[in-house]
């Protein structure tokens, strides 16, 4: 991997980090590459880049140490809310008004995949935030269906049950995956000493 390519990927993967930490990380690695160049030329830079390893994995190590930024959490909140609001699998409007509409199911599947991925990659807090905002969005769907169709839809016991299950299920999924992922990472760090 070329230096430019490595730094570009590292910049991208460190985006979730708090701004000050990200700046320090990138500056430090840039400084190290300059030392490598001064010491052994371009061969030294190439060797050093290989020794840094995969930029995605490297960035993840920093993220697990310092956590993610507030702005990244806000971004996840927005994504979670929008996906949750439009993805109810037994959506009130889906059952009552638009039975052939496939998007809610697809979006719901996408939401679950994203939730597991975010929890696995970024840990407990981002997983819970995404799940919580998705469950709020999911519940908000009732209001949304009113706005779309101009009247309150019939709320059945099944609807309430589905809303209640998802209100618990979505944040819980993020929390469980995030917690397990953090524990695995901690154990791998303990192994490294």
């Amino acid at each position: 991997m070329m230096e430019k390519d490595f730094l570009l990927k590292l910049r991208f993967h460190t985006l979730p980090l708090p701004r000050r930490i990200r700046k320090e990380v990138l500056r430090e690695i840039d400084s190290h590459l300059k030392e490598a160049r001064a010491s052994a030329g371009e061969v030294g830079v190439d060797r050093t880049i290989r020794r840094f390893g995969d930029p995605s994995r490297l960035a993840l190590n920093y993220i697990r140490i310092w956590g993610v930024s507030i702005s990244f959490l806000l971004f996840l909140s927005l994504v979670g809310f929008v996906l949750g609001a439009f993805s109810s699998p037994v959506k009130i409007s889906y059952l009552g008004y638009s039975p052939h509409h496939p998007f809610p199911i697809i979006l719901y599947a996408l939401l679950i995949i994203l939730l597991i991925w975010v929890g696995y990659r970024y840990g407990l807090t981002p997983g819970v935030v995404l799940g919580l905002m998705a469950s709020i969005g999911y519940s908000f769907n009732v209001i949304l269906s009113y706005n779309v169709y101009g009247e309150w839809t019939i709320i059945t016991n099944a609807t309430i049950l589905t809303l209640a299950i998802n209100a618990i299920l979505l944040p819980l999924t993020g929390a469980i995956v995030g917690h397990i992922s953090e524990r695995i990472w901690e154990l791998s760090m303990e192994d490294r000493g």
Partner: protein, 114 residues
Amino acid sequence: MAQREWSIELKKGAIQLCIMSLLKRGRKYGFQIIKEMRDLSDGYFDIKEGTLYPALHRLEKRGLVVSEWVIEGSSPPRRYYKLTAKGEETLINSLKEWRRMVKATDKVIGGGGK
């Protein structure tokens, strides 16, 4: 392959102790730590950059080291790390534990070899 894995397992616990011991001798930056660790151990500890920097950040997060940027002459800006009082205390306790472990291990290995 088995020998290499065995060697990695043995090194795992020692890396953090080695980093902190080097920093006890004075402030150092990443490139310098890698080089000194390799030279002092005759090449045995060739810690990779992708392992060292997250390890230093973990120590910083725990309050065991602090860092500062220094610009010296025409060299690129360097981020120097140094041990804090808490780091020194942790190092002293860790070294005691390490020596106890080595001593105990030697006794077991020695005993097993008889």
